[in-house]
């Protein structure tokens, strides 16, 4: 039985009069791919925002291991090992592909402004290591040939993969992917699925928001379903697929509805 590394306990958040998430309980087990699905507006991205510290819960907690991380600053949470991608691409457009990844990997470096200014041996070492590491990540994701192109000029598919590469740059334990396949054609989705599996096999744990059912059923170990801010199912993909409540809420939509 693998360990739980991320635990959402009774997580609730209200915005004014609207309860976006209502007492959601979810456990993410180490090394698994957990898919989070649900109709639009169910609260999936809100979950991501709560985990990464963009929002603070109205009540309930987010536990990373034993530590409650709700209430911590965002960059601290990233440092603790959680990284994410975004539904709308939010790359640093005026920087190159390589620079995007290096910027993310800076969180693991020790040298700050003063060290950089004086060009200490440590700062030089860290720079070299950062560049090498970033190339490794880009090769792992398969976009190293674009290393020196400006991010805003990349083709859409490469941008989406760069989002993932950048998140990997922070050396996370947990990767949150927010609709990574949006706008992909079936061939690209197959390649993405393989990449996600490759990432998991390399030792990462993945929490994934997606709408494409075949993609999800193909790679997820478990599926959790949100509807109107509440979790209505949380089980193996095959079980969830046949859950009448889930079907009623959501699965009337065919695969690849985008």
């Amino acid at each position: 039985m693998s360990t739980t590394i991320l635990n959402l306990k009774d997580l609730t958040i209200k915005f004014g009069g609207v309860t976006a998430l209502n007492s959601v309980n979810l456990e993410l087990k180490e090394g698994e791919i957990l898919a989070l699905i649900g109709p639009n507006g169910a609260g999936k991205t809100t979950v991501f925002n709560l985990i990464t510290g963009v929002y603070k819960p109205t009540s309930g907690n987010v536990f990373l291991g034993e530590v409650a991380i709700d209430g911590k600053k965002r960059h601290q949470i990233t440092k603790l090992g959680i990284a994410r991608t975004f539904q709308n691409i939010r790359l640093f457009g005026d920087m190159t592909t390589l620079e995007n990844v290096i910027t993310a990997s800076d969180v693991r470096n020790k040298v700050g402004l003063v060290g950089s200014m004086f060009g200490t041996p440590r700062s030089r070492r860290e720079e070299k290591a950062s560049v090498a590491k970033a190339h490794e990540i880009l090769k792992f994701i398969g976009i190293d040939e674009y290393a020196d192109r400006l991010a805003k000029n990349l083709p859409y598919g490469v941008q989406r993969r760069l989002e993932i590469a950048r998140a990997l740059g922070t050396e996370p334990k947990i990767l949150l992917l927010d609709e990574p396949a949006a706008g992909f054609n079936p061939q690209e989705k197959v390649e993405l699925a393989a990449t996600i599996k490759k990432i998991r096999d390399a030792g990462y744990t993945i929490l994934l928001i997606e709408h494409d059912m075949s993609l999800i059923m193909g790679i997820s170990d478990r599926v959790a379903v949100l509807d109107f801010g509440q979790k209505i199912a949380d089980d193996l993909p095959s079980v969830v697929q046949n859950d009448p409540q889930v079907i009623a809420a959501y699965l009337g939509v065919p695969a690849d509805a985008s």
């Binding site: 991205t45 925002n49 963009v54 975004f86 457009g93």
Partner: protein, 316 residues
């Protein structure tokens, strides 16, 4: 120190209310634009200056008013007043429309750089105030009296003047008209929809560009009216008059909670009263700095103002 305040309390209060309504009208320019764009309209101070100059120019050169003349008959006077008010409102409204087009719309769509429109608006403001400065050789222009400063009656020792009263009443009427328009008309609902949730509003078929343009124009009309009232009460115009008044009006909008029209009303009236009372007590040489300090303190400790929304919301 408090003598003046006590003995002239009621005339000070009326002056404070008149100034307050001027602030409320200018604040409309800031608060409405912030409501729909989440950006400060940096050029609003010059939109005010232009409105004030319009009144002076129309009264002085079109109607040949001068500072020592016999006031015309009531009917003609009302006609002149309406012309000047219209001139100010139209001039400011039109300028606001141009500002939106050049500084905000053009850059909003082109770049995700969020400070670009602000810099452009600041530039436009500078260009306008500099042109005015060069044309007026930086000298204060004196405006003829339009609404007579007749004392209507005295109340508890204080003089209640006609020009203050007109400013207060007209300001109130304009505010109510604006508020009702926003609440009840279709365009007004569009403005409120966009300020609440831009994406949903677009999905509901609201024409974003038209709404934003209209918001600027409405704010400009109100600010222009403020220019008219200011010239009536204070009888002078100068190229940099917009800076301190704009700053005070912006502070009023923030006090009330920026984006909130009723809040701006509260903020403007309070600030006008506080300012007049304070200058009766301590004099005026630290005034501009005091307004800044008030603004900074509010932004640091109570950024939502009294009625408003959070200005630090992240959009993810």
């Amino acid at each position: 120190m408090f003598d003046t305040l006590i003995h002239q309390f009621w005339s000070l209060t009326f002056s404070g209310l008149a100034l307050g309504f001027i602030y409320v009208l200018i604040a409309m320019g800031y608060t409405m634009v912030y409501g729909v764009l989440r950006m400060i309209n940096f050029a609003n101070s010059e939109i005010f200056t232009v409105g004030a100059f319009a009144t002076m120019i129309v009264s002085k050169y079109v109607f040949d008013f001068s500072t020592e003349m016999i006031p015309p008959s009531n009917l003609k006077l009302v006609f002149v007043i309406l012309c000047c008010l219209a001139a100010s409102m139209l001039a400011s409204g039109f300028l606001a429309f141009l500002v939106e087009l050049v500084a905000y719309r053009h850059l909003r769509n082109r770049t995700s750089n969020r400070i670009a429109p602000l810099i452009s608006a600041i530039g436009i403001g500078i260009v306008i105030s500099e042109i005015v400065r060069i044309l007026t050789r930086a000298r204060t222009q004196f405006s003829p009296n339009i609404i007579p400063k007749k004392v209507l009656f005295t109340f508890q020792g204080g003089e209640i003047r006609l020009d203050n009263t007109v400013t207060i009443l007209a300001g109130l009427v304009l505010f109510i008209i604006l508020e009702r328009f926003i609440k009840l008309s279709r365009l007004g609902k569009g403005i409120r929809a966009v300020s609440m949730d831009e994406d949903s509003a677009k999905l509901m078929g609201v024409n974003l560009n038209r709404v934003i343009s209209l918001t600027f124009i409405l704010g400009g009309l109100m600010t222009g009216a403020a220019g008219f009232f200011y010239v009536n009460v204070y009888e002078n115009v100068k190229y940099n008059m917009g800076f301190s008044l704009g700053l005070a009006a912006f502070t009023a909008a923030v006090i009330g909670g920026i984006g909130n029209i009723r809040g701006a009303f509260f903020g403007g009236i309070s600030l006008g009263l506080v300012e007049i009372y304070a200058s009766a007590i301590v004099g005026t040489q630290w005034k501009p700095v005091t307004v800044f300090i008030i603004l900074i303190l509010i932004l640091l400790f109570k950024p939502n103002g009294i009625f408003g929304e959070a200005i630090q919301k992240t959009r993810v």
